[in-house]
Amino acid sequence: MNMRIRFALLFGLFLIALPAKALMTIEIIGGATNKIPVAILPFTLSQDTLLNPGDVITNDLGRSGYFRMLDPRGAVSPTDPQGLPLKEWKDKGADAVVMGQIVGAANGRVEVRFWLYDVVRQIQLAGLSYTTTPAGVRAVSHKISDLVHEKLLGEPGPYSGRIAYILKRGSRYDLQVADADSQNAVTVAASTEPIISPAWSPDGSKLAYVSFEDKKPVVYVQNLMDGKRTAVAKFRGSISEPAWSPDGKQLAVTLSRDETSQIYLLDLDTLAVKRFTRGGALDTEPVFSPDGRWLYFTSNRGGSPQIYRASLQTGEASRVTFDGGYNVSPALSPDGKTMAFVHRRDGRFLIAAMDLENRQTQVLTDTVYDESPSFAPNGRLILYATLVNGRGVLATVSVDGRVRQRLSQSGDLREPSWGR
């Protein structure tokens, strides 16, 4: 296995502490070598009270590490795209310009319009209109960011998904859901006992998670629309590690019902469970492959915890990780081609990514206590938790290891999961 720690020195240079705020603080570490210069013009608004999509898009693209944001220097979007001085923006060094407007629509709704221009070739790359409620402007802005990212880089942007994570403050645990830029955070469940392992349903409408409110781990599924939740199983012992099947109809869970921790498949309609792994070793941390053919999981059947995968058809398992004595917490990219996991080396727990076709592994981080990797819906970023100065923070790293961000807040952030 060809493991490398890369960019360690480069990232060291960017560790600048930002002033502590009540809100999430975001720190960007590293970035692409050739950033695309983009100007985002403030949108013209029908009402001053509306959020300006230009601000949201500037933040999204600016934090990504792939774009260099040009200051519009007082320029605003013209009312008609004809009036956009493309040549002028080219002379100012922009490769692309985004302009837009919000106009009133029927029933108190608003129409958000935007245009993206390639000012080098003087052509329009995109033009879209979205009708939404005033409260939906933020979500629309993230969708525009996704589209601009895709048009300029050729791969979908990661901005419009949602993240779930645990915020621990004192003895209180909040399961929160926020936009991918960590804004708009809402507590969906709160407890004085630990909550861990949130997992998004494939359609993004539900979260499964583990709560210790009964003095033991129990898996709950919560509908995010109405807040209703159910314990998926009542058994003796621990019930943990929920993972959704790609069709959303099954959960893989770890139960200690029959013998030590083993993986079971739970039908969400009937709540019937079927045992999936056997043997006296610890089997846990299941995750389905996106094509529904494999279950990846952690097992110590070979003496140390390693990642295995088993066919969901035959149950036959084979070992996936071999390098080192501790490889756990598998997460799969949406295309099923890359696996992120936690790899221990020299007493440090690091995020690594394996190309599942050629089994090449690359270590992506250089911190000490990395945990809980999960992929962005676009497959290009990995979200994980780590410790900085003893405090839990969330971090992202691009799958090539080049771009990293950290999200921190007062309190411990942990157990992140990225959903649609």
């Binding site: 008609d80 033009g127 407890s191 209703k228």
Partner: protein, 250 residues
Amino acid sequence: MKHIVYVAVLAAILAGCADKPTKDAVIEDRGLRTQSAASGAGGVDTQGVGTPAIDSRVISGGGASATENRAAGTSPIAGTDTKQSSVLETRPLAEASTEVKPLTDAQAASGASAGADGAAADASGQGTISLNLKDPKSPLAKRVIHFDYDSAAIRDEYRELLEAHSQYLIQNTRAKAILQGHADERGSREYNIALGQRRAESVANALNLLGVPELQVEAVSMGEEKPLVEGQDEAAWQQNRRAEIYYPGE
């Protein structure tokens, strides 16, 4: 020695709280009436979040003639139609409705008031060994078993502790023991649940071998979530790799 003192202190603190009824729900449900049975009996408040409804359509531009993807290989975005059923509602956050009580974990149940079973054990008399859960001098007051790194093997020094608890459970057939396994904080929280579970099972098996019926013990795991000692060094980790015995409703 350190942990015994710790347990004793905790027990003393909890004795002060003994009059309060022990409820499952640690958090109260005030101000959440709109959420139709959101939280049920458990100690967790939940609430809904939706995604704003968005309609979209392609519009034409003015300044330029052609619409084109700059990057190779991208497909045109065909009307990002993300119509979703519900509009995001702003509801009071759970923060306003939460009451936090300093209830702790394993020893919470074991502190103060002894049940009828405890009294029965006392009456049965065991020579000089007290099998009264309330008695701080009884070997039953010892509830914590520590483990070596990456191990669930019970060390010899815990023989007396386990024998006392097995005798108590054999004599009190209605008593039930919950065995909570714990791991130190290193590595995956999820894998650490399995490690803690193994430790709890190890204690359960030892009690079964000493004659305690299987249905009188339940092995569960708290993973790395409830450390006895905070800290990121071997001294703290050593304290935290453990199993604890507690008696619900004690």
